[in-house]
Amino acid sequence: MRKNLIILLLIVIALTLPLYTGVYILHIFSSILIFLALSLSWDMMLRTGQLSFGTAGFFGLGAYASVLIVVNMGFNPILSLLIGAIFSGFIAFILGFIVLRLREIYFAITTLALTHVFSVIIRNFSDFTGGASGKILASAIFEGDPVKIYYLVLIVAGLAIIISEVFKRSRIHYAINAIRNDETTAKSSGIDVFKYLLFVFVSTSALQGLVGAVYAHQYAFVNPESTFSLNFLLLPIAMALVGGIYSTNGPIIGALLLGLISEYLKLIMPYGHLIVYGLIIVFVVLFLPRGIYSTIHNKLLKSNIIGGDKNANTASK
């Protein structure tokens, strides 16, 4: 009951934020929500047991697909966001048949290499992609209106949260948890391991593509250097680790916490904030290896302050 109240309150705050804050705060939250969605998408793949380092790659592919289709073919920008998602998902579908045969570190390294391959290909198709200097849009989406952009990003983050919860509450949860646990058992219990891995890989990549497309239209440009930046991989991972993996709440808490802290640190020590940021991550991973959400949640469960939430409990195991 109290939990639902908190969720409702957060939704109301998120929806009404533009009414009482300025452009600067809206900008910060837009950026946090972008990383929140990426963090969730990375975590959803991790729930299958596969550590993907391809987040930045599919983010970049979506960004490029949606910008190029607007610049080169005059597409509607809103529609182009969907194209970005579909394109990333489509590429993931094709590559999935190869990379999803791999496991553990081999999967991780290959997805990281793919990110680099994507950016090299784009750099070399300069006639179509603008090469190393990238492409600039005539204008940011919604003529750069920060309120509309905030709501767009909020929708995308909301979508990520909904997908994550659907994953947790449906048979997908049982399939991917079983696969992460023991693939042999999963197979002998009737689970089509490859089908589920492919489904999750494609849907999270499509989500990453959508986020990339929104991000590119928010800043009105793409270039290989910054669009495929490893920030779009490392920050989401850090957020999920800090907040707590295998859950919806963990990445949300991690993204809000690290996003706000890093913004605050930037103000008080313009060049030193990354050091403190790094220390926080080291501290959390060392002392709260389950992440903040799971640690606090388990403490509360043990002291019976809140009722049992089976999924969250399962997730922290």
Binding site: S170, R171, Y174, A175, N177, A178, R180, N181, D182, T184, T185, A186, K187, S188, S189, G190, I191, D192, V193, K310, T314, A315, K317
Partner: protein, 238 residues
């Protein structure tokens, strides 16, 4: 007519022939024992029948359909289920959730159906701590969860790989009674066992494997007196 028919199965691991020209069949409502010394290929036979491993040669027919090339998850959905010698519970699930996995994917239950199917199986197997995580369960409970997950798929053929190993005498008898009750449901059951008391009590017929080949078959009483079988277990007389 047999529900499962394996014909001329060959499986090699590198240079080692684990299963060689093996043929056997299973009937509805029959408990078949698979015995033999260590390394005889008993677990490999289960792996091959359940699709955990592929065969190099030979065919496997289930309900008159060739399933030799079918993947493990397909065979499970069609009705061939198994347990593992070393229990392989899904560690981030509770006891009942482990069994639900079998119902969800092996049988194709919907989420709400799966919970009640799993609860029924817990009742059948007398699993009380349904909401405990598997790391809190006893050996017997783990074995039951393992069996429950296989049963939840609603199998017609069930392979039990040393399900009694590591249990006390009382616990063993409890499981023997459970397996016998499954036999009455017309499931074709095959048990791999080292404990001869269990084999004697449970099986209608046994096949004895040595070095991947059948060296004897028939009722336990007959087979246990077979010279070749005794030699395989104890070594040849000088």
């Amino acid at each position: 007519m047999p529900i499962l028919q394996a014909s001329n199965i060959l499986r090699k691991f590198g240079g080692l022939v684990a299963v060689n020209d093996l043929s056997f069949s299973m009937e509805k409502g029959e408990i078949l024992g698979i015995i033999g010394p260590n390394g005889a290929g008993k677990t490999t036979v289960i792996n091959l029948m359940a699709g955990t491993l592929g065969v190099n040669k030979g065919t496997i027919e289930f309900k008159d359909k060739d399933v030799t090339k079918s993947a493990a998850h397909i065979r499970n959905r069609q009705g061939i289920a198994r347990t593992f010698q070393i229990v392989r519970p899904l560690e981030n699930f509770t006891a009942i959730e482990n069994i639900m996995v079998g119902a969800l994917f092996g049988k194709g239950d919907k989420l709400n159906e799966a919970r009640s199917s799993a609860q029924n199986i817990c009742n059948l197997l007398n699993i009380k701590n349904v909401n405990k995580h598997v790391d809190e369960l006893t050996v017997l409970e783990l074995k039951k969860v393992e069996l429950g997950r296989a049963l939840a798929a609603d199998p017609e053929v069930l392979f039990l790989d040393e399900i009694m190993a590591g249990l006390t005498s009382d616990e063993t008898w409890e499981l023997i009674d459970i397996v016998k009750s499954l036999q009455k449901k017309d499931i074709a059951i095959s048990v791999v066992e080292h404990i001869m008391k269990v084999v004697k009590e449970l099986t209608d017929r046994v096949i004895v494997l040595n070095k991947g080949q059948i060296i004897a078959q028939g009722p336990y009483e007959k087979v246990s007196e077979n010279k070749e079988v005794i030699a395989a277990y104890l070594g040849e007389e000088e």
